[in-house]
């Protein structure tokens, strides 16, 4: 099966099920269609590339503080771990929770850095750190992605385990790393006659080097693994958005629309005079601040209503971009913004990526970079031959997406 053929077929095939039927389909059919419709792996590759870069830029700034942040003799040392995991005795005050367990037991997870030879030694820690950075870079580039995907997840999980430096944004990294690992472990496994090396290490076909290596591209090949990983990431992100939005509603400042006031006047840095600078036009000022606060609430709580709809894609992506800028410059929080934005990229369909690359290809100098390598003709056998056009039709039906060839429009 050739990606061009796929594109041609998808372009000429009218979905056999009208949209009215689509709405009437049973729950089982809808479930199966949502989860088990293969999708081109292009979206997964793009999320992988962006997430891999994010992992690198997350870990790199800590280079001079490894022992402090991650070592077993660092800010949170072995003695603290031992005490944090001690069971509380009856009568002992325990603010960690009502149950008879260590106060940090719910917080502390596993980490490879807890191995004394790694976390207890500066050399071991440095080796783990630089190896992790190398793994992240290789994963971003798509080099042996099945292995680097698993190693990336192990590294992200290990370097986010320390309770003293725990930060909400780390949760996004874990979500991205986990689902990307799942996606790349599954990607292409149903390909017939797959050699054991490619089955074990993954393919170069989705790497950024594919075009220079003359490798066939797998971007347009429908993949169940890519579909599952992207769907799981999408749903998990939707859960995060809704629950975070509902959590905001537990605080009166969000209901009152004052929530965005506080990051503008951070405690300890803003002076009373600065806070009163807009007193003359206070109502107008608060009008816009409260409208913005409610826009945030609507965007988060309403996330599942628009995230999967193509017409609302600008709302999804522009909202995520604004969130990135606000998190970075207003709240001064690293990680959260870019991680959320990358998560939202998982909703973008292959057709939309193609349209974007088609536009970018018109920019002088970019056309060569965006030229697609040859499609992976010999491996497009993930599904029975007689069903060759069905994934494209399904994706076209649900999200107006098709199996396409990037940069050849």
């Amino acid at each position: 099966m050739n990606a061009n053929r796929l594109r041609d077929k998808s372009a000429t095939t009218t979905p056999t099920t009208p949209s009215a039927d689509h709405n009437d389909e049973g729950m089982v059919r809808g479930w199966a269609r949502f989860w088990f419709t293969p999708t081109p792996s292009l979206g997964l590759h793009i999320v992988r590339f962006c997430a891999g870069l994010l992992f690198v830029f997350w870990l790199l700034p800590f280079a001079n503080h490894l022992d402090d942040l991650f070592g077993l003799d660092g800010w949170f040392d072995r003695e603290a771990y031992a005490k944090g995991l001690e069971k509380s005795t009856p009568g002992q005050r325990d603010v960690g929770g009502p149950e008879d367990r260590g106060m940090l037991e719910p917080v502390i997870g596993w980490s490879l850095l807890y191995v004394p030879r790694i976390g207890g030694s500066s050399a071991g820690l440095a080796a783990a750190y630089w190896c992790s950075l190398a793994v992240f870079a290789l994963f971003a580039l798509g080099v042996v992605p099945r292995v680097t995907g698993v190693l990336s997840w192990l590294a992200v999980a290990s370097f986010t385990a320390g309770p003293a430096i725990a930060y909400d944004g780390d949760g996004y990294l874990l979500v991205l790393a986990f689902y990307l690992m799942v996606g790349y472990v599954l990607l292409g496994q149903r390909t017939r006659d797959l050699g054991w090396t490619r089955r074990l290490f993954g393919s170069w076909d989705g790497s950024v080097f594919a075009r220079w290596l003359g490798r066939p591209s797998d971007e347009a090949r429908p993949s169940l693994g890519a579909a599952l990983a992207l769907r799981l990431l999408q749903v998990h992100l939707a859960i995060i958005m809704v629950i975070s939005g509902l959590h905001k509603l537990q605080f009166g400042d969000w209901w009152g629309g004052y929530a965005l006031w506080y990051p503008f006047y951070p405690a300890g840095r803003a002076t009373l005079d600065q806070a009163r600078a807009h007193a003359a036009e206070a109502r107008t000022y608060l009008f816009f601040l409260s409208a913005a606060a409610y826009a945030v609430l609507f965007w988060q709580i309403g996330f599942p209503l628009f995230a999967w709809r193509r017409r609302w894609r600008p709302v999804l992506l522009v909202g995520a971009l604004i969130g990135w800028l606000a998190d970075s410059f207003l709240y001064e929080l690293p990680l959260m913004g870019p991680a959320l934005f990358i998560g939202c990229l998982a909703f973008v369909t292959a057709e939309e990526w193609q349209a974007l690359f088609g536009l970018l290809a018109r920019v002088p100098g970019l056309s060569g970079l965006l030229a697609s390598p040859a499609p992976a003709e010999e491996e497009a056998v993930e599904e029975p031959e007689e069903k060759a056009e069905t994934p494209a039709a399904a994706v076209a039906k649900e999200e107006s997406s098709t199996c396409i060839t990037v940069g050849q429009s």
Binding site: D168, F178, W261, A267, L272
Partner: protein
């Protein structure tokens, strides 16, 4: 065995594989959903008792404590995503540390977050310092505590206001019978002390200090009401300091 057509577009898989994959998906996302619901919520208004946090719904807590919770912990997705940044009206904290030699002379003073560290490290230092805000409240007994024969009345370690100061407090350890009856006092939580003591041990190891004095500095946020109410003064937003004293012992 080939699965009968579910949908013309859906990948044809054996029925058992559909069922297995569906069970795995439902289990995974069910565990994630239970975990995000199994979080303390609030503060909610609670009648005459003021406000307080509420325990999570039991079905979610039970699921999150069972196999799904253990699974999520194993794959490190056990987050409830109740982000700290969702709470807008929070004070900010910093830690001031005085390192002393064997003669009690201050050899170095550190501020955490370190203004000279890069932005990302400062942010993690801020995460560490935020644990210092984990004070708990306790209410003193309404009547005198009579200890068992031969024993003393229990002693409480609490934040005692410094006389003639509205913004300073220090850790004091006193018999519970010496405290005013039925009064709410702020006490450093076990969690807070765990983090502070660990950090002090780290500083002693890395700086060779004999003793370490730690002070927590808190700044309250300025509310939007200051735009309408000229009664607020800058003194109300002065830093509050809480001295842990020498934590090397």
């Amino acid at each position: 065995m080939i699965q009968p057509r579910l949908d013309h577009s859906v990948l044809q898989l054996p029925r058992w594989l559909y069922v297995l994959a569906s069970v795995v998906i439902i289990f995974h996302l069910g565990a994630v959903s239970a975990r995000v619901l199994a979080a303390m919520s609030g503060p909610w208004p609670m009648g005459q008792d003021g406000s307080g946090e509420v325990y999570p719904p039991q079905f979610a807590a039970s699921v999150a404590d069972g196999l799904p919770g253990k699974y999520l912990k194993a794959v490190r997705l056990d987050r409830d995503f109740h982000f700290t940044s969702n709470r807008p009206n929070q004070p900010t904290y910093r830690m001031e540390v005085k390192l002393k030699d064997e003669h009690g002379q201050v050899t170095q003073t550190l501020t955490i977050p370190d203004p000279n560290a890069n932005f990302w490290v400062q942010h993690r230092q801020q995460a560490l310092v935020s644990y210092l805000a984990a004070d708990a409240t306790m209410r003193t007994p309404q009547s005198e505590v009579i200890p068992p024969p031969g024993q003393k009345a229990p002693e409480w370690t609490y934040w005692k206001p410094v006389p003639n100061s509205m913004t300073k407090a220090e850790l004091a350890k006193e018999s519970v019978n010496d405290l005013a009856r039925g009064m709410t006092v702020f006490v450093p939580s076990d969690l807070e002390m765990l983090f502070v003591r660990s950090y002090v041990r780290h500083l002693r190891r890395t700086h060779g200090a004999t003793s370490v004095d730690v002070t927590r500095v808190a700044h309250d946020p300025i509310p939007p009401a200051v735009m309408f109410d000229s009664g607020y003064t800058a003194a109300e937003f002065e830093a509050r300091t809480y001295s842990y004293g020498d934590l090397s012992k």
